[in-house]
Symmetry: C2
Subunit: 211 residues, 2 copies
């Protein structure tokens, strides 16, 4: 929320007219809708273009690849989620609990549209260097959500590392669940497990006799 608005999610290079904004939105909606139906494979560029009412070439002008499109779709969804989560902040007593609660809430949201989750997460981890900026934006959004839940304004490097590890676990656990190799219960356990790292890296303010 500070000055890092530069790469927020619109490169801002050309300001985009109203019609263009509308096209972009139609594309993202079409993408999300197709993804929600049949997952990654169902998001076919020709179909997205048709559903959004734009030509294939235009679709590619807005999103230079299917991966870019799906990562942008994820950005979009994450933004929704972030505002939704802010409305009812987690109630846990300590940061670890609150983060686990937040992530599980997000997880439940994803469970409602598993195919969409599949498409987005697969795209995210499959993205190569050419999508780095966009993936980074998603990562920053996720970090913001986690830090929000922690209630930490100025995280230490060690806390940031813990947050990164939590994100790693979050993505990877999601994938194992989506591909049917882990149960929901297992994901829950893993998230709770990794969240313990937060206590471990807390900057020992005053109470809590650790070791």
């Amino acid at each position: 929320m500070t000055a890092e608005n530069r790469a927020d999610h619109r490169p801002a290079s050309p300001p985009l007219t109203e019609r263009q904004e509308a096209r972009r939105r139609r594309i993202l909606n079409a993408s999300a809708q197709l993804a929600a139906r049949g997952g990654f494979d169902a998001v076919q560029m020709r179909e997205v273009a048709e559903a959004a009412g734009v030509a294939l070439g235009t679709l590619y002008r807005y999103f230079p690849s299917k991966i870019h499109l799906l990562v942008a779709t994820m950005q979009d969804q994450l933004q929704h989620m972030h505002t939704t989560l802010r409305k009812r902040p987690p109630a846990g007593a300590d940061p670890a609990e609150r983060v686990a609660e937040t992530l599980m809430r997000a997880f439940r949201a994803l469970q409602r549209e598993p195919q969409l989750a599949d498409a987005m997460v697969r795209a995210l981890t499959f993205a190569d260097r050419s999508v780095s900026p966009e993936v980074d934006t998603v990562s920053r959004l996720t970090t913001a959500i986690i830090l929000d839940a922690m209630g930490t304004e100025h995280p230490t490097p060690s806390q940031l590392s813990a947050v990164r590890v939590i994100e790693h676990t979050w993505h990877s656990a999601l994938i194992t669940w989506l591909s049917g190799r882990a149960s929901i219960a297992q994901v829950k356990i893993d998230i709770e497990t990794v969240c313990r790292l937060i206590d471990l890296t807390a900057p020992a303010p005053a109470p809590e006799p650790a070791r």
Copy 2:
């Protein structure tokens, strides 16, 4: 190393003749070689087939998709690594150190062939349900490597969860490094951070007054 040899890496359905074994090996070598050159994209099925001296249809009979092929390639490489690692076990005093050391050793090995690593890891995380058994085998191999480093014979559920989280972090950190979004130093820090979970889940044998 016990009785779970059943799904080791050969489905054992038809025992495979010598020539077939040789074909399979040629294919895996070709795959690894092409991957080492140009990463995921350079592993093109027609090229693999040609390099291995088999027809395209045959390649598909052995590995039903590019993802299957690359995941099998990873199995293969992991097996090498496992035996290599066993020759010189990690020297650290406590389990967390040893695991971190082992993973960093593996990481350095991957750094020597970053393109190969890219191809294998991308395939692994992109794999869908149809590849679950193979991905699971890779996962079991990784677990075995980590448990070896821990020196833990009979892990508790809580320890297994920690190991899963470590694997999640390992894969995901690898991806962020491969796509240029994290430095080697950051990967190191994240691995060391997540390895602290091992101490946290140790079954408190006698010393260590926690809380």
